[in-house]
Amino acid sequence: MIIDHPLLGPRDSAEFTYMGDAKLIDRPDPDAATAARDFYDYAYLRDNPAGWHDELWFHEQGDRSWLVVTRNTITHEIRQVRLARDVARARGRST
């Protein structure tokens, strides 16, 4: 596969390490009353969709950016690649 890195352009997927569901960005609030339940969901429960999926890829053999790659798990088509940091900011992790 070829991943179109937002900073470096198209790179072979062999340069990356895969970590799976990008929901790992949404780490729950450890002080919430429901923290125990929230962290259980966060640590253990993943969707495994046949289709579009936001995934975390680490450019380990490159610039060490974490990316959020929107990939179709059936066709391997990739329609969007973002810096995970930008995604994290957009999801309100800028505190």
Binding site: I2, I25, P30, A36, F39, F58, E60, L83, A84, R93
Partner: protein, 978 residues
Amino acid sequence: MSQKNRISGGQIDRTKTLNFTFDGKRYTGHPGDTLASALLANGVRLMGRSFKYHRPRGVLTAGSEEPNALVELRSGARQEPNTRATTTELFDGLTAKSQNRLGSLRFDAMAINDRFSNFLTAGFYYKTFMWPKAFWEKLYEPIIRKAAGLGSLSLKDDPDVYDKGFLHCDMLIIGAGPAGLVAALTAGRSGARVILADEDFRMGGRINSETFVIGGTSGADWAVTAIAELGSLPNVRIMPRTTVIGAFDHGIYGAVERVGDHLATSETGKPRQILWRIYSKHTVLAAGATERPIAFDNNDRPGIMLASAMRTYANRFGVAADKRVAIFTNNDDGHRTAADLHAKGVKIAAVVDIRPDVPRSLDYEVLHGEVVDTKGRLGLTFAEVKLGDGSIRTLECGALGVSGGWNPNVHLTCHQRGRPTWNETLAAFVPGGTLPPGMVVAGAANGDMSTHRALQGGAQAAQTVLDLEGPLPDLPQAEDAPINVTPFWYVEGASRAWLDQQNDVTVKDVKLSHQEGFRSVEHLKRYTTLGMATDQGKTSNMGGLAIMAELAGKTIPEVGTTMFRPPYTPTAIGVFAGRHRGKDFHPTRLTPSHKWAEERGAVFVEVGNWLRAQWFPRAGETHWRQSVDREVLATRASVGVCDVTTLGKVDVQGRDAAAFLNMIYCNGFGKLAVGKTRYGLMLREDGIAMDDGTAGRLAEDHFVVTTTTANALPVYRHMEFVRQCLAPDMDVQLISTTEAWAQYAVAGPNARKLLEKIVDVDISNDAFPFMACSNITICDGLRARLFRISFSGELAYEIAVPTAYGDALMRKIMEAGAEFDVTPYGTEALGVMRIEKGHAAGNELNGTTTAANLGIGRMVSGLKDSIGKVLSQRAGLNAEGDLRQVGIKPVNPADPVPAGAHLMKATGPVDAAHDQGYVTSACYSPTLGHAIALGFLKDGSARLGERMRLVSPLTGVNVDVEIVSAHFIDPDGERLRA
């Protein structure tokens, strides 16, 4: 022996003669021959034995789809089994042997299997080797293993070199037949970067095998001219002997170039084969078509081959399959073979056509009928024909060309889930559904069977994908005969009619599997093994599908095809490995003191990719334990030095560096003073321990984090995840400096005295106490880092210098330490000392243990958030009686306490239900004079002093042990604070 079947013409160089041997017998051929064509020229029809029944077999095809003519090529270490004679380019001195025989090829003792064919039907193994159960391992499996497989391996190291390479292009063209050549010309002339790959050594595809005229010249000559023009274009790369084996994601193709297979041995300095990864914007698949046979009784005798192959041998190689041949066909193309061979003076016994409206010929007899049986033990002698009126006619012939129609080579269109569609006119599957992105198909692969349509399709494909303006280029005149085929798959018979000749699957087997309930085409394939041989059923699958469809009362498209998967043709494992073999299997990382350690005769051990000194044997030491015990005792008595460069190091800088460390470590770092180091434990988010190490604070905004050697990479990856994904706006930067600093542990009572001779600063206990760290200089000005940390439990320091000075520093330490008898120690002594001190390492941080298990549960700070904190507080990880790290020593000092053994109560049952814990790390402690161990024990902290049994039923261990503190040495830490 003369080449008795060599006839005129062909694209071979008759001015040169090549010598070769087959089964030890000498033959001759010419450049341009394949092994198969040369054998046929010499009148050799028998080339192998079949897999199951050991039936005599000859060539079926003239290409990579060959199921039968598989040989062991070359000898010695270069011997390669299952090599297709039909694609093996002849070279001088070639040696080949037939395979899958017991005795000689002509008298194969295993041919007895053929007599028992009634038992060896589909599912034979599943039905037969069921019982008694005990027979499987001792009897059945060895016998089956011996009988399985065709050729044999040399069992020697492959002396050849294989390589990998990367190519990029605008357009990859797969197949250099008429469609591929025109596509390449059209694209190449437009300036596009083109790669033209063909599996054959001679480009031109099918036209090299035909007598067609293209643009007023012979097809073969037209191809030569086209290749010459392409060769003159700098933007076109022509790759003969290159098979595109797979279509992968996003326009990436795998291709194997056979650089040296046509030579006796590969040229010095050149690889035998190269695995290319081709990145292509567009792809034109022009892979042509493969003829399929018709099944009839005893259709597998040497001499029976595809009609198109017979034509290839005649037109391209100047070889007659025999002096007297017959043809059996269901379509017009079969008649071409008769016409071409007749024109070359070969006697045509008859053409047998299943169609009533048979095209007539003035030159030879054409019969309406079916071939119902054949004769000839080691080669065809007679074919029996049942004529349209029901009468039987026997034809004397040494070769029979069979044509059942043509299948487009759709394989690569299906590598990305595409499924082909049925074309009624061709009675064949053509590309359909979703093609791999960027791929178009042209020529016979697309079902465009005439030369004219192939040329047109190739030009059109190139223009379309490259978005070229204007009309199609002028194309040369070429034949445009229509397809005229009547689907016909097998002749009803009483005996056996072969579908898959390589795996010995007959029409009967397919019927039997249907009868036994294997109705899905995927089940049929696996039950009968149809199409599962090295030829992947290129000539046999269609027949099987058609029979399935007939039995199920369905149409062929309703039955569907099995999945086509890479590689397109068999590929040597060596080319996938490339240069990654032996010591190059992975990179080897050497520490800065490696050369010095080598000079001292160190024994090395692989740790990850690193080579680390394991111990340093001295003269007279005959056992590793002698060296390790000495290193431990010498270090504890005076001073030792160990290279710890391989530990991961991460530089953490920024205003929020301390807050960041608070996040990744479960214990607190916010209040760590500048100039101090602290032990840190990282948890995974699920509360399990991930890694541990130390972090030193060199400045308010600057920490140096260390990780274990094995986890350097994953921990760094995790830290970047926390930084970028969880805390995107923390002011913190990370960089791995593992390789930037050489680092040595100097440990033992004389460690300070030794280092005082090297460093430029005051390192007295007051000025530089336990857990201090600092940027310093050594040797009058060289920048360095000093940490007062101890893994061994002794007064110890770790000193780091830029890697370039690593070798020099080690030599300096040895020189300065001479007066203290400084002793270099390796990873074994390091391990012994940390067990003696009770320090956890990888065996204890094994992916199942928590901070509480490790006995440091109180380290998890409740005052701050950190990765893993919330889930580490789960009830399930904090139950009464959970495992705790303990020390274990034998009651009888002579007994061992091996790692992996389990702890049981002193009395009571010994079984898994009564398991109390287990040993994680064990060693002989030279300091204490007996074996010691670390392990985990239920409620261990409360059980110190308890007598237990340590058992390992597997290895026969049963030892009385005592549970003790994990800190065998200096439990109060007086030494390291000295």
